[in-house]
Subunit: 234 residues, 2 copies
């Protein structure tokens, strides 16, 4: 008797290969982007919808259910509370090194400035900046930069000379060296377009001591890396 095959079996590769088995868990469209956005902490359904412009609620629901079934995501449902919070399990958090390598590959090989109408969430731009500062071992001393963007969380990017970290900064607890205030698109343009940094565009406000701002502008020169690869525009 032939056993019934469900959708999960159909989408499996059926190989004895650990890469194939990993991709059976996280290889579906949108799945790694869900993991990416949960790596910065628990999120609600609509938080995820905001970061993943273009995903339909149906697909996001499906991905969250799949990830939950595979043990990568845990769900906080509290009776009497409207919000449902999604967070990564330890196995889900363990994907971080793989995601960082993939992101850095994208930075090296497909980096280009944002198109005018391209949704650019601060979290994604700042994550790329943090990883590049870390990968290039940029030493700016002990610094603390905060980023304010209307309609999004505030972020704080810190360096201690050795390690760079990016966190959501809900309260702005401590005094930053530099505060960057901009819209989503202006922030993306400013950080990814070297020519704009000295021009001090009007849609990006940098607050802080002049020396601290100079340190900031110097550090972000590593970002993005020079696009060495040939563009492919058939």
């Amino acid at each position: 008797m032939i056993e019934a095959v469900n959708a999960r079996d159909t989408r499996s590769y059926g190989h004895f290969c650990m890469l194939a088995k990993a991709l059976e868990r996280v290889g579906d469209r949108w799945t790694l982007l869900v993991v990416r956005d949960l790596l910065s902490g628990p999120k609600r359904f609509t938080d995820l919808m905001d970061r993943m412009a273009g995903i339909t609620p149906k697909t996001l629901t499906q991905r969250l259910r799949d990830l939950e079934a595979d043990g990568l995501v845990e769900v906080d449902r509290v009776a009497g509370r409207r919000e449902v919070w999604y967070r990564l399990s330890p196995a889900g958090q363990d994907l971080q090194p793989a995601l960082e390598e993939l992101l850095l590959w994208g930075l090296r090989h497909v980096a280009e400035p944002p198109r005018p109408d391209e949704p650019a969430h601060p979290e994604h731009v700042l994550r790329a900046l943090q990883l590049q500062l870390q990968r290039e071992a940029v030493d700016a001393g002990s610094v603390r930069w905060t980023v304010h963007v209307r309609g999004a969380d505030n972020y704080v990017l810190t360096g201690d000379g050795t390690r760079w970290e990016l966190r959501i900064d809900p309260y702005g607890e401590r005094t930053p060296d530099v505060t960057i205030t901009a819209t989503r698109s202006a922030l993306a343009r400013f950080l990814t377009t070297p020519a704009l940094r000295d021009a001090q565009p009007q849609d990006v406000e940098l607050a802080g001591k002049p020396a601290a701002i100079r340190t900031f502008l110097k550090a972000i020169e590593v970002f993005p890396p020079v696009a060495a690869g040939p563009a492919q525009n058939p």
Copy 2:
């Protein structure tokens, strides 16, 4: 007027995020498995078909064309020769760190012994073993182990106390310390089932000096890592 969107645009995420852009290049089903199999050197169409059991020639063709268009794969077509050889471009080879992290994640979180009928290509089992030996910094001194499997390439796994390497070994040029001869499925079972190693199953032949064989059996104790995660069998 609405602009026409082609299939490529449809499948893009449209985000200013380097991870999303990376996944637009390598996020399609089967794509990273093609890259995986080209990382060990140039291959012909049928070489890839053999390693990727279950893929249809139509899909493999599509993936190779996409990868070529994106500059990750280069094609050697020589007039008057039947074979077409596919190889990775530098950008394609640069995916290696990301693939290794994903493979190691699979090894940590979804490792289980091969099912009886599960296709197990030696290259994929040995790659996982090599990465785990490297990740765990296993020091077996200077060793050279060769693997013979009927119907597949021969492989040579070498360690020098610091670095582990796996290569296809077409001619068996130098004298190995241990030679492993088995079928595909027997090799997979033997390497992934600790209980089998001392039992010396009849479908796996180990040739070499007793001390060298003991070194081999000791080293592979790190493989596979103990499955700590809970199985999900709904």
